[in-house]
Symmetry: none
Subunit: 125 residues, 2 copies
DNA sequence: TCATCTGTTATATTTAGATTATAACACTTT
DNA sequence: AAAGTGTTATAATCTAAATATAACAGATGA
């Protein structure tokens, strides 16, 4: 699993960890039942406090992505990813609708919006 | 002018004020040359420090929406269409960035997002 | 000129969230 | 028992946002 922490992202560390792990789950790199690195080992690896890793894991557990058992470790929880993706798609759709409204109201041509879209989505090299 | 501050928005107060005033300018509720409430009166009204209001006004001046004159007050700057378009583009950009984050996180391919985009923008026929 | 608006500046403090360090504790496995 | 897991409590640091306070400066009208 590839967890990268940057100070330039603006996001707090615990949230960056959260996102990395969610991403790994969505991409199926982490599957149902897989064990996550222990809070201490991941903390050592990233050279941060184990409390920060714990916080990330706590959030992930709250939102149902993982299950933690004292003395054993943290495991990827069963989840209906298709259902979640469906929700995420709806969320994306509502944002696009907002964009559509703004562009219509302010006379911003579709092409210009498309340029922005390409720019932001291409930077993912 | 309706400036509402909430602690639940996550946005700092000075930014909420900024946004409210931008919105009032966009909706023409505040017109070119209109005087804004004085930093102290708005601070009293909102029960916050005048320094926080000043910060909001400073930001608005930096981005060209208002003009402040010592001893007189702050006034809505002459309407600048480029500025408005620039602002709307920024808004659109921030939505696209949100979309990018969601799609990256939940492993939704760019193409799928693009399909949605096309669908919503084509229906304008 | 004076009072009273307006904005400006400087200093110190408070607050909240994120993060850390440390130590002690509890459960699981071998 | 040892060594791995997670848990909890406490105190400290750091940063951005926000505050309190006081003093200063320009504009305006009585």
């Amino acid at each position: 699993m590839n967890i990268i922490i940057t100070n330039s992202s603006g996001l707090p560390i615990f949230e960056q960890i959260e996102n990395s792990i969610k991403q790994a789950i969505f991409s199926n790199e982490l599957k149902e039942g897989d064990m996550l690195p222990s809070v201490r080992s991941l903390a050592n690896e990233l050279k941060i406090s184990f409390l920060t890793v714990k916080r990330a894991y706590d959030e992930l557990e709250k939102s149902g992505f993982i299950k933690t058992i004292q003395g054993k470790g943290s495991y990827v929880a069963p989840k209906n990813l298709d259902l979640i993706k469906e929700e995420k798609l709806k969320e994306i759709q509502s944002y696009i609708e907002k964009i559509y409204e703004i562009s219509k109201l302010s006379n911003i041509p579709k092409e210009e919006v498309n340029e922005l879209f390409k720019m932001i989505f291409e930077e993912e090299l």
